[in-house]
């Protein structure tokens, strides 16, 4: 028995050490730093002050941008990913499914940096706007706008949304749809009453993945927003790498971690509710 406990311990040790060194300790450092002062030439100087937290308001615009565009981006991803995943999981022959799934992943083989560059050209004045102009549909400014950032977000994060939903739908017992139909439900109501609720864990996972990553996103806004669409991730990069105000950066990071934590907790409550006792569900 003792031997087994020891073995379990040894198995868990690498993961535990990783968790401790790569997550817990850095978080403690960030937390401690957030009460410090900026050093004379930047960096960190020990102190105990709440100034950094009181100054969080100066990054309100970045928080606001992130808290609007991250959920919006997540929602658009969801609205595009769900039909795509549905089509892949339920309406495609197995042979085509493999091909199409690979096509969903293929863009990931290239760096997001290069793909964002492609979008800079596509959304730039000589790209899609020029095409629209040639078609007489006006010449809208796309690049360096929130729209361009959303395009980049949806483009970059779509697969992360597609896969959890695909897996949930693929695992869905197709006989449940037959049962629903057998019990008198037309296909669209079967979708709402069976397919959709049973794919909710996949939807929640996908939304969580995309949302959490978007909260920390900085590359896409920097490249497609041209510095005019500013996320909290960009504020962090600036604070650590440009102004080197590590304590304030740490305070922003702590605030970001808190926002994410709240989101994850909400997510867990939500999924638990789907998994367990829903007495009062409306069935159309």
């Amino acid at each position: 028995m003792q031997r087994q406990a020891l073995r379990t311990w040894l198995f868990l040790a690498p993961a535990g050490a990783w968790f401790l060194c790569m997550l817990v300790l850095p978080l403690i450092v960030v937390f401690v730093y957030s009460f410090g002062e900026r050093g004379a030439a930047g960096g960190y100087a020990p102190a105990f002050t709440f100034d950094n937290f009181l100054n969080l308001g100066s990054r309100w615009a970045a928080f606001k941008n992130t808290l609007i565009l991250a959920p919006l981006g997540t929602l658009i991803c969801l609205l595009i990913a769900y039909p795509l995943a549905y089509f892949l999981a339920l309406k495609t022959s197995p042979r085509w499914r493999t091909v199409l799934l690979i096509l969903v992943i293929v863009p990931f083989w290239t760096s997001i940096l290069i793909r964002s560059y492609a979008w800079i050209y596509l959304l730039g004045g000589q790209g899609i706007p020029a095409l629209l102009n040639a078609l007489g549909l006006g010449n809208p400014r796309l690049i360096n706008t929130p729209f361009a950032v959303l395009v980049g977000i949806v483009y970059g994060y779509l697969p992360l949304m597609v896969f959890p939903i695909y897996v949930a739908l693929e695992r869905l017992d197709k006989r449940l749809l037959e049962a629903s139909s057998d019990l008198g439900s037309p296909p669209w109501r079967s979708f709402l009453q069976v397919t959709l609720p049973l794919s909710m864990p996949g939807v929640a996972t996908g939304c969580m993945l995309v949302f959490i990553l978007l909260m920390g996103e900085f590359l896409i806004p920097a490249m497609l927003g041209g510095g005019k669409v500013f996320f909290i991730g960009n504020a962090l990069v600036d604070l650590f790498l440009q102004s080197r105000n590590w304590p304030f950066g740490s305070a922003v990071a702590v605030a970001l971690v808190l926002v994410m934590l709240i989101t994850v907790l909400a997510y867990m409550r939500f999924t638990r509710r789907w998994a367990g006792g829903r007495d009062d569900v409306s069935l159309m």
Partner: protein, 373 residues
């Protein structure tokens, strides 16, 4: 066998469902071919056959999950080939129950009622659900989650979910396949009782002949997409139309040979070693053709002394079955076959041990001469 047809009215005599020359092909694969069957109102009918025989296809055509490639499906005299499942007054108990995991027991049972338009009032629905739960002997289980229920309980929920809709046909697709033997036996009895009580037409698909024999009013035996024989369990047992049916329904010994004489009420077959076995034959058997004589083990008597047409045999093995003992015996010409001896008969003859010499006999003309297939 008396049928359980309900008291006559002109409408009630018409079949509740019919397969008319119904075929289902998937490309070159034939799942069902030329099925003709009239299902009587209120009967308990089983489709019996090995897997791939077309019985599930027949059931799914009745449910509406498959539409026939050719031929017609009728419900209450109406052609329903193109009516989708959700518009058919038919409900199914699925093989693995297909209960909705995200809903409670009560919500599962209420599902069908809630699809009705106009939607029945909630109190009516909950009363119907409660009644259905009582019918399947699960009162008070409504708020439970599906995964909190045992396999047997899930089966009852699936049943309740179907019967609460009072369907014209209740289709059961191997509903007991996942239950252990004891539970299966209990459930069979319960289903049979329930069917009598509700008066709903039950159509069961099974590969278990014992299940089909014990529960059904009629059995439709299928093979390779075709119906081989339809009849009451007794008819099928006593008058199988082919060696296949005889083999599938109950146990039988088959002695192959050549038909030597055919006359009304008596057909003779010359088996190995020149043994002549006489019996009844279905129409169409002709002298000179290859066939088999079928004798049920319980039709054969085992004695220590020869009596009339007795075959000398050696006892090879013995299986004690309680009320009966099953002997495997060997004859030099006819090979090994089974004999079922009742406790009573054994009492007079004494038990046989492997290696014992004995004589097997049967009453003249008791055999069935069946075409090989």
């Amino acid at each position: 066998m008396e049928s359980k047809l309900k008291p006559a009215s002109e409408e009630r005599d018409a079949p509740i469902a019919e397969l008319r020359d119904a075929s289902k092909h998937y490309g070159a694969v034939v799942a069902a071919e030329g099925l003709n069957l009239a299902i009587r109102r209120g009967e308990f009918l089983s489709f019996l056959g090995p897997s791939g025989c077309g019985k599930t296809t027949a059931l799914r055509m009745l449910a509406g999950f498959e539409s026939p490639t050719s031929g017609d499906i009728l419900l209450d005299g109406q052609r329903v080939n193109d009516v989708p499942p959700h518009q058919r007054p038919v409900n199914m108990v699925f093989q693995h129950y297909a209960l909705f995991p995200h809903l409670t027991v009560a919500q599962n049972i209420a599902y069908g009622l809630r699809q009705r338009r106009p939607r029945p009032p909630e109190d009516e629905i909950s009363r119907a659900v409660e009644r259905a739960l009582e019918t399947v002997r699960l009162p008070g289980f409504g708020p439970r989650r599906i995964w909190e229920m045992s396999g047997g309980q899930q089966q009852r929920v699936a049943l309740a979910r179907a019967i609460v809709n009072q369907p014209k046909l209740l289709l059961l697709d191997e509903p007991m396949a996942a239950l252990d033997k004891k539970l299966r036996r209990d459930m069979q009895i319960e289903l049979q009782t329930l069917q009598r009580q509700l008066g709903i037409t039950f159509i069961l698909v099974t590969h278990d002949q014992e299940e089909a024999l014990s529960m059904s009013d009629r059995i439709c035996i299928m093979r390779s997409g075709r119906i081989v024989q339809v009849g009451s369990p007794r008819e099928l047992y006593d008058r199988p139309a082919s060696r296949y049916v005889a083999d599938f329904v109950g146990k039988s010994n088959f002695f192959p040979g050549t038909v030597t004489a055919v006359s009304a009420g008596r057909t003779e077959l010359a088996a190995a070693g020149g043994h002549v076995i006489a019996g009844l034959a279905p129409v169409g058997i002709a002298a000179g053709q290859r066939a088999s004589a079928s004798l049920r083990p319980e039709q054969i008597a085992l004695t220590r002394k020869p009596a009339g047409h007795a075959l000398p045999v050696t006892v090879v093995n013995r299986i004690f079955l309680g009320e009966h003992t099953e002997y495997l015996v060997r004859n030099g010409d006819l090979g090994e076959f089974l004999v079922l001896v009742s406790r009573q008969a054994e009492a007079s003859e004494g038990g046989f041990e492997p290696g014992d010499q004995a004589f097997a006999s049967w009453s003249e003309g008791a055999a069935l001469i069946l075409e090989d297939d």
